[in-house]
């Protein structure tokens, strides 16, 4: 598991992909920080946090698209699957590799609160809960995108599938709002959709609401997609077509 994680993680930094994506991410986040926080003169970065998940919708698909497709292309899939490691440990290894790159990315954002703490008095707890939310939301996104890379052999297709899945996750909110206006059944459905919405749960964290059910919900989501990925690999092994 850790062997795969270590290898993939290094491989991201052996190619320009990690640098480009992290650079892009930091550039956009800094832009928002300067425009939204520094210029407004408030020691509050919640607008930055509530924007991160939109940014991740573009960055994580590109980051994770290689997770399984690259191995299929190079034929190294055989090496992994015939090694004495379980499918679960292979998938978790892949997941952790992408997640670690995500963590590096998140580490760069620590400079914004640092600036806030030096020059102002931000709300420490809100920032803490924002980060907790970000870490779990990132795991959700990564697990979904790694899953997408397991279902296809083409990187671009993997990225597009990931993007569409993430977009649907975002649009659930809009759908919930819309359905909510359609009478009593509609508002009930709307509530279910809102409950299911990961974006909604993430936004709660960034506004300082620390909810344990949300953490459990997101963790279950990650576990489910890791499990789906394992199933995809398993099914391929048994394929009759």
């Amino acid at each position: 598991m850790f062997a795969i994680m270590k290898r993939d993680f290094r491989s991201y930094f052996n190619s320009p992909i990690a640098y480009v994506l992290i650079g892009l991410f930091v550039f956009i986040m800094s832009f928002i920080f300067v425009i939204g926080t520094v210029q407004s003169g408030q020691a509050d970065f919640s607008n930055g946090f509530s924007f991160i998940n939109t940014l991740l919708m573009f960055i994580i698909p590109i980051l994770s698209m290689r997770a399984f497709t690259e191995d299929k292309k190079q034929g190294t899939e055989v090496l992994l699957l015939t090694s004495p490691n379980s499918l679960a440990s292979i998938v978790i290894g892949k997941f952790l590799a992408v997640y670690s790159v995500f963590l590096v990315m998140v580490a760069f954002t620590l400079m914004y609160p640092l600036v806030l703490f030096i020059f102002g008095k931000p709300e420490g707890l809100t920032i803490l809960s924002s980060y907790v939310g970000l870490l779990f939301y990132g795991a959700v996104t990564v697990s979904l995108c790694v899953f997408a890379s397991s279902v296809t052999e083409n990187q671009i297709v993997a990225a597009v599938i990931s993007f569409i899945l993430l977009l649907v996750m975002m649009l659930i909110d809009a759908l919930a709002n819309f359905v909510g206006t359609l009478g009593s059944i509609g508002s009930f459905l709307g509530k279910i959709l809102t409950w299911l919405s990961l974006n909604e749960r993430y936004q709660e964290f960034s506004s300082g609401i620390f909810d344990f059910t949300s953490i459990i919900f997101m963790l279950s989501f990650v576990a489910a997609f890791v499990y789906f990925t394992i199933r995809v690999l398993e099914r391929k092994r048994w394929s009759q077509g």
Binding site: R7, N14, G75, L79, S83
Partner: protein
């Protein structure tokens, strides 16, 4: 060491492997021979646990590949048709990764790595990126990968494909040497390779086993006659008449002459009867000396073609 019984893998209606059974003894080098698309790679992929069979069982060292995949995979080093290399790593990094993947204990690994690199002669390229290596060296790195963790069984899918003749000879030598303390299954569609390296041969065609035996026995078994050429001093007509009197000779053909009154003939005789002694006596009786006698066994190539073409006719 390896028991494969009634192995079948279907893709839709198509059977890539059809009821294949054979065993490989410990320390044996088994050649897996067949035309392209015969099911060699599929069988190897099933054996190594990369894909699953539709039915049938594979056991390695007593462990079923489906029930105890971990135990089986631990015992097998696999070199697939396309060596599974990460292009963005150096040879050294790559082998370290393989050792990690196979959980080779750190303290053993240092020496093992040196040994393996010496054995496949890649020590001098250990700091180069895999993607910059030539095809031959990539193949060797792939082979090194299969040796990591000192598995008992090596499964090598067309290990010499795409190499130049010198490299082929080297790799064959290496395989022969590895055969001393490994059980090896080796696939190939190149016949001389199999007869040069393997103790036993499985010939597979269209997913079915066409024959299993040692290369020598295969040649013997598959010819219905014993064939030999014989060169005899004496006038052709009288020699032929004399030979035709010998019991068991089925076919006689004059092949040509090199000197005046010296003719060579191709003789085919019943396999059950050794006609050489009666033939000698008969010719001695008539006073025709035998100058040369050479038995013609079928080459593996002939057998291969014979087996695979009869199969086609049956369909």
């Amino acid at each position: 060491m390896i028991e494969i019984s009634n192995l079948t893998k279907s893709y839709g209606k198509n059977k890539a492997v059809d009821d294949v059974s054979f065993t490989v003894q410990k320390g044996e080098i088994l050649g897996f021979l067949g035309p392209n698309g015969a099911g060699k790679s599929t069988t190897m992929n099933i054996l190594t646990g990369f894909i699953s069979s539709t039915s049938g069982t594979v056991k390695v060292d007593g462990f079923d590949v489906l029930e105890h995949p971990g135990e089986v995979k631990k015992r097998i080093g696999y070199l697939p048709e396309q060596p599974p290399l990460y292009m963005d790593m150096t040879v050294n990094e790559y082998l370290n990764f393989c050792a990690d993947l196979k959980s080779v204990p750190k303290k053993d690994w240092k020496n093992q790595k040196v040994d393996i690199m010496e054995l496949v002669k890649i020590t001098h390229v250990s700091h180069r990126l895999v993607k910059n290596l030539s095809k031959g060296y990539k193949q060797r790195v792939g082979l090194a990968q299969a040796l990591v963790g000192t598995p008992d069984v090596l499964v090598l899918d067309e290990p010499t494909v795409g190499l130049d003749p010198k490299q082929i000879i080297e790799i064959r030598k290496l395989i022969k040497a590895l055969g001393k303390d490994h059980t090896i299954i080796l696939s190939s569609h190149i016949l001389p390779e199999v007869s040069a390296v393997c103790d036993r041969v499985v010939i597979i065609n269209k997913g079915k086993i066409a024959a299993i035996d040692t290369p020598e026995n295969l040649s013997k078994k598959l010819s219905d006659f014993s064939r030999f050429t014989i060169t005899i001093a004496g006038p052709e007509g009288r020699v032929r008449d004399a030979m035709q009197e010998v019991y068991g000779i089925k076919y006689l053909e004059t092949q040509g002459t090199s000197h005046k009154d010296e003719f060579s003939y191709i003789v085919e005789a019943d396999k059950e009867v050794d006609v050489r002694k009666p033939l000698f006596n008969k010719l001695a009786e008539h006073g025709f000396p035998i100058l040369e006698l050479k038995s013609l066994s079928l080459s593996l190539e002939d057998i291969f073609l014979q087996l695979t073409t009869t199969e086609t006719k049956e369909d």
